[in-house]
């Protein structure tokens, strides 16, 4: 559960983690610069459990996994968008950052609304407006990765052989 931050369309990965910070791999270091290209010092506004709400094509641009790693390490519980850039989407699933597509939630949720996402039921609940919005379940192949907590754990759990 947390407060919603509203972003527009086409938030690019340079806004999430600017290129100058890419010589770092440590999640905690990357958390410090989360959304730094969007607004300097943005991290100071985030509390654990907060939710990002965005328009179309969230995470467009580079393949840098540093972007979802930074968002996750900053404590953001979920990114809800109208659509995601495909590399960002894969990366988020692979590292265990929840990402959900929902037009209804995007239209209704406002800055600062308190939101909780129920992944089992496939529902987003807006506690401020007392509204809920459903979202489509993931395909089973992708849900299996999510259920393991990410691709590394999935590969370990399933002991996939070449």
């Amino acid at each position: 559960m947390g407060k919603a931050f509203i972003f527009g369309d086409n938030v690019d990965t340079d806004s999430i983690v600017p290129g100058r910070y890419l010589s770092v791999s440590d999640p905690q270091e990357l958390a410090k610069v989360c959304m730094e290209g969007y607004q300097l010092g943005f991290i100071s506004k985030i509390t654990a459990g907060d939710i990002f709400i965005a328009g179309k094509n969230f995470g467009c641009g580079s393949s840098r996994e540093h972007a979802p790693v930074s968002i996750k390490a900053a404590g953001v519980a979920c990114v809800i968008a109208q659509s995601f850039a495909r590399i960002f989407f894969r990366n988020a699933i692979n590292i265990g950052l929840p990402v959900v597509e929902s037009d209804a939630a995007i239209k209704d949720i406002e800055q600062g609304n308190v939101v909780v996402v129920d992944f089992e039921q496939g529902r987003i609940v807006n506690l401020t407006k007392l509204q809920s919005y459903s979202f489509a379940p993931y395909p089973p192949e992708i849900k299996a990765i999510i259920d393991c907590g990410g691709l590394v754990a999935y590969v370990q759990t399933h002991q996939i052989k070449i």
């Binding site: 369309d9 086409n10 690019d12 340079d14 806004s15 600017p18 290129g19 100058r20 890419l22 010589s23 770092v24 791999s25 290209g37 300097l40 179309k56 094509n57 467009c60 641009g61 580079s62 393949s63 840098r64 996994e65 540093h66 979802p68 790693v69 659509s83 850039a85 495909r86 590399i87 894969r90 990366n91 692979n94 590292i95 395909p139 192949e141 992708i142 990410g150 691709l151 590394v152 590969v155 370990q156 996939i160 070449i162």
Partner: protein, 422 residues
């Protein structure tokens, strides 16, 4: 129902006779590429997976091209990690400073990409290799780790959009202008999750260098991959570069293949294009922009650092000087391009004109090093992105254009149509 080139490549690698858009498949990989940004994270994740060996030592390509030659101490540590990994795992195709070139120019040049292959890379511009009729796409570090361990990965079969360009391009109009025009038309999410298949008379007339430029920027429209149907030009290029004795498979889309959209454009009267800040989709004719003075011009990158690009720039710069207020940085994309540029006298023309010529690096394109912008500064650049803060300070601006427009602008000090300095 027939299949597109992209569907055929993915079906083959998934061991299936037929696939269609939307289907999820697990497909074998012919190559896994990463660099000094995506690589360190990939190695950390790879080690957690507990695999002793990579799936194939000859099919992992490591290129240290982003923060290199090492821009700072942190970058140096990242590169050291990759160097140790490459030695430890006996990675055959490891490119360090001195051998290194910008990955998406380097791999095809070294014969590491064959038509019909399926390649993933830890860089969004991995889609460049579609110019050779291969399927290639960018992934993040954890996918790289799994790809390196397993030699396979899951893919959703993308729907394809067909672009058909008719007519003959006018002088001063290049592959860069065609792709900028296309992104301007369909928007930065116009091909989201999809394939951009580039066809038509104007594409058949393009050199491989220009085709690489077009496929390189497919990601700027959100595409999963860009692809050009292989033809004689593809065969010629591949035969010339097949140093690794790769087997090529030249796929063509079936006549009854399914496309989610088809665009047909007559491009004979197309003008040189430019993407204004801060989106590759914010495209105009160069002649329409008015007076925009610039502080820096960059000619290089995985988009436009190939020989054809340097020759085009040199043609305009020969016997001229760049504007005294414009830092002009020219970056040949690979060592062999650099060497050829020296042999042909291009480097001499550049230095004589007052340009800096650098060893290959991605540095300035992503605001890493070698040409970072200060607050309020403007650059015209042959690179692929102009997001806020891309090349440095959040209040700097990047204008994306062809090498001809960048060179013309470097001479006049403002954004300029190449015919004005001819």
């Amino acid at each position: 129902m027939g299949m597109t080139i992209t569907e055929k490549i993915l079906a083959f690698h998934a061991g299936k006779r037929y696939v269609e858009a939307g289907e999820l498949v697990t497909a074998k990989l012919d190559g896994v590429m990463f660099n000094d940004i995506s690589g360190p994270l990939a190695i950390i994740e790879y080690e957690k997976m507990n695999y002793q060996n990579v799936f194939d030592k000859e099919r992992i390509y490591i290129v240290l091209d982003h923060f290199t030659p090492n821009a700072n101490i942190k970058a140096a540590a990242q590169c050291r990690l990759l160097r140790r990994f490459a030695r430890d795992k006996q990675i055959k195709h490891f490119y360090d400073v001195g051998l290194m070139g910008i990955e998406h120019a380097l791999l095809p040049e070294q014969g590491l990409i064959a038509p019909g292959e399926l390649v993933i890379g830890g860089d969004s511009h991995t889609c460049t290799y579609g110019a050779l009729g291969a399927f290639s796409t960018g992934v993040g570090s954890t996918d790289l780790a799994a790809g390196m361990a397993l030699g396979k990965l899951w893919f959703k079969i993308p729907a394809s959009i067909k672009f058909s360009y008719q007519g003959k391009l006018s002088p001063f109009v290049t592959g860069k202008d065609l792709i900028l025009y296309t992104i301007g038309k369909i928007g930065v999410d116009g091909a989201l999750y999809k394939t951009m298949e580039f066809t038509g008379e104007a594409i058949q007339q393009l050199t491989m260098d220009s085709r690489f430029t077009m496929c390189n920027m497919a990601i700027e429209a959100g595409a999963k991959n860009g692809i050009v149907p292989p033809d004689q030009e593809t065969e010629r290029y591949f035969a010339q570069h097949n140093y690794c004795n790769r087997q090529a498979l030249f796929y063509q889309s079936d006549a009854d293949a399914k496309y989610s959209e088809i665009f047909e454009w007559e491009v004979s009267s197309l003008e040189p294009q430019i993407a204004m800040p801060h989106s590759p989709g914010n495209v105009k004719d160069v002649g329409e922009v008015g007076t925009i003075s610039i502080d820096q011009a960059i000619i290089g990158s995985c988009t436009n650092g190939r020989l054809e690009d340097l020759r085009a720039a040199a043609k305009l710069l020969q016997g001229k000087k760049v504007h005294p207020y414009v830092r002009t940085i020219i970056i040949p994309a690979t060592q062999s391009i650099y060497r050829q540029a020296i042999k042909e006298g291009l480097v001499d023309i550049f230095v004589e004109a007052g340009c800096a010529v650098s060893t290959p690096t991605c540095g300035p394109c992503f605001g890493g090093h070698m040409g970072v912008l200060a607050e309020g500064e403007r650059a015209v650049s042959t690179t692929n992105r102009n997001f806020i803060g891309r090349m440095g300070h959040p209040a700097s601006e990047v204008y994306l254009a062809s090498p001809l427009v960048a060179a013309a602008s470097a001479i006049t000090g403002k954004i300029t149509h190449p015919q004005e300095v001819r």
